[in-house]
Symmetry: C2
Subunit: 327 residues, 2 copies
């Protein structure tokens, strides 16, 4: 397939839902923001061998690339609208790989109701496969969630379960044996296919004071909120929500608790809110079909503490998490 066939067969159909892309036949795409809204823009890159494994299925690589960006939109409460794709193909990419990659994007476009708005494909034969995606969302003007609005007295909550992705990567790298096959498969899926919490993110507007998505690791990301909001975040280890598979892993190997709170790539929402809003959040979480769990509180001070059931600080399995403790 040459470049033009690739555009006609695989890429242009992904842009057909938005007239302003002109079928990708122009120098750029035109995009109108709805009245009263403003845009939210995010950009993430991924390279083979760094952000995904060489034998990861190409459709899942594409969907992870898209979803990590959508998760950033969710963290700010934005609705996803579209994206631009950059693809630097290396010498190993054949038509089958490329077709599968774009079929993954097509699948997620359906799921998230978005369209491709433009992009660029280059051949870089000496390089490794490198991907770049810019996602575009919309949020009511002035209402975007940020990391800096938390206040002492806020409770801290998180969506979904934490640690699955870090354990899933270990499974795929064959560094985590002695797990049941179902648990192993579940964790691997959680690594390969994040679930951006867009509905919950939008629901948090007006209720949450600070929010972000957990990508650097629970402790590091709680640290981002602490630093940007000028306070201390205390998290209760016994409340951190674990999947059954992660529970199975950590019961067998307690040292994995460190991987769970520091591992990253969870793409769950971590947010703070006044206690009075918690019942609203619980109700909306049901509507969004996204579990939420209270896991801590904001207090005066700085930094992050992880506490055991008695309120004592758990330091032993937190060593090393500081690698990602800033943005």
């Amino acid at each position: 397939m040459d470049e033009f066939e690739r555009i006609d067969r695989l890429i242009a159909p992904l842009a057909s839902g938005h007239p302003g892309t002109y079928g990708l036949a122009n120098d750029g795409a035109v995009f109108a923001c709805s009245a009263g809204n403003e845009l939210v823009l995010t950009k993430d890159m991924m390279a083979e061998g760094v952000h995904f494994l060489p034998d990861d299925p190409p459709d899942l690589v594409a969907r992870k690339l898209l979803r990590t960006n959508l998760s950033d939109l969710a963290a700010m409460g934005a609705a996803a609208r579209g994206y631009l794709l950059g693809l630097a193909l290396d010498a190993n990419r054949d038509d089958t790989w490329i077709a599968s990659f774009f079929s993954g994007l097509a699948q997620d476009q359906e799921i998230f109701g978005i369209t491709l708005l433009g992009g660029d494909t280059i051949l870089s034969e000496r390089g490794v496969l490198t991907l770049s995606l810019t996602a575009i969302g919309e949020v009511a003007a002035g209402r975007a969630l940020t990391r800096s609005g938390a206040q002492a007295g806020d409770i801290v909550a998180v969506s979904g379960t934490i640690g699955d992705s870090a354990l899933g990567l270990m499974v795929l790298q064959e560094k985590l044996a002695a797990l049941g096959p179902q648990s192993a498969a579940f964790l691997g899926d959680r690594y390969r296919l994040p679930q951006p919490r867009l509905a919950l993110g939008a629901a948090l507007i007006g209720l949450a004071r600070a929010a972000l998505d957990v990508s650097d690791g629970l402790l590091a990301d709680a640290g981002h909120i602490a630093r940007r909001s000028g306070l201390r975040v205390e998290l209760d280890w016994p409340q951190v929500p674990l999947s059954a598979a992660a529970r199975e892993a950590v019961d067998a190997r307690p040292d994995l608790r460190g991987n769970i709170v520091a591992g990253g790539d969870d793409y769950e929402l971590l947010f703070t809110l006044p206690e009075a809003h918690w019942p609203d959040i619980e109700r909306l979480a049901l509507v969004c079909d996204t579990p939420v769990t209270r896991i801590g509180r904001c207090v005066a001070g700085e930094g992050v503490a992880l506490l055991d059931a008695g309120g004592a600080e758990l330091a032993t399995f937190m060593r090393g998490w500081r690698h990602g403790s800033r943005e």
Copy 2:
């Protein structure tokens, strides 16, 4: 310099002009489009060894990356507002290289009045340096220039001079000897530092019927207009504007005419308009300090023809240009 120092010292200052970037401390940036306008979005990637030479100065690599995207905005008549940057660093990038790269962006931000809105930096040690940029512009709603509006009877015009960049690359690759040192330096500069025609592009709105920027080569890009507008474009070789340096080269080696019309990377605007608007264009070109030249016409039919002074088709030095004859 670690990742956080790099963000604090080099990257965050580039985003300080736009409050919605929150100093790059959030998951994304908020961006409001002015009332009555819509956005224009473009994305280009570049890889070392493909789109720039390993020993190109890093500040000029950065500025070329930015300017090729700004040229796409110019082609649609949009005003440049901001950009997101993706940087996949290879093992060869040291602090000096990176600092120079960002100083080039800082310089062009001043010149074009734009700010960094976000982005991502990754380390890809086995890869080659790969760059991705998404540029964001604004245009009055419904007024963006496209490739598809040309009509039979329109005249065809182009800004600046054509072929300098293709010849400049040959100079830098030492494939074009026997040029005076001034001419050689001029052509090399034209390859390394495109001049996006933003003022002219904006001025074309309401006057031009179709426009694009010459990136694939004059003939190929004229072919894009012909195909998208459903007509034939005739270009007059004697009218194609050449710089003194390009004239010197082509006088010595007439075979270089093919490189001039097929070479690409000119980043000049090619546009069509009704004859009646030509005096307006000439006046605005003076205001914009951007020379424009009539070089042909749109007629019924399809494809592109390059004609000599007598109106006969020049085929001999057009062989091979079809490589870029589609989008």
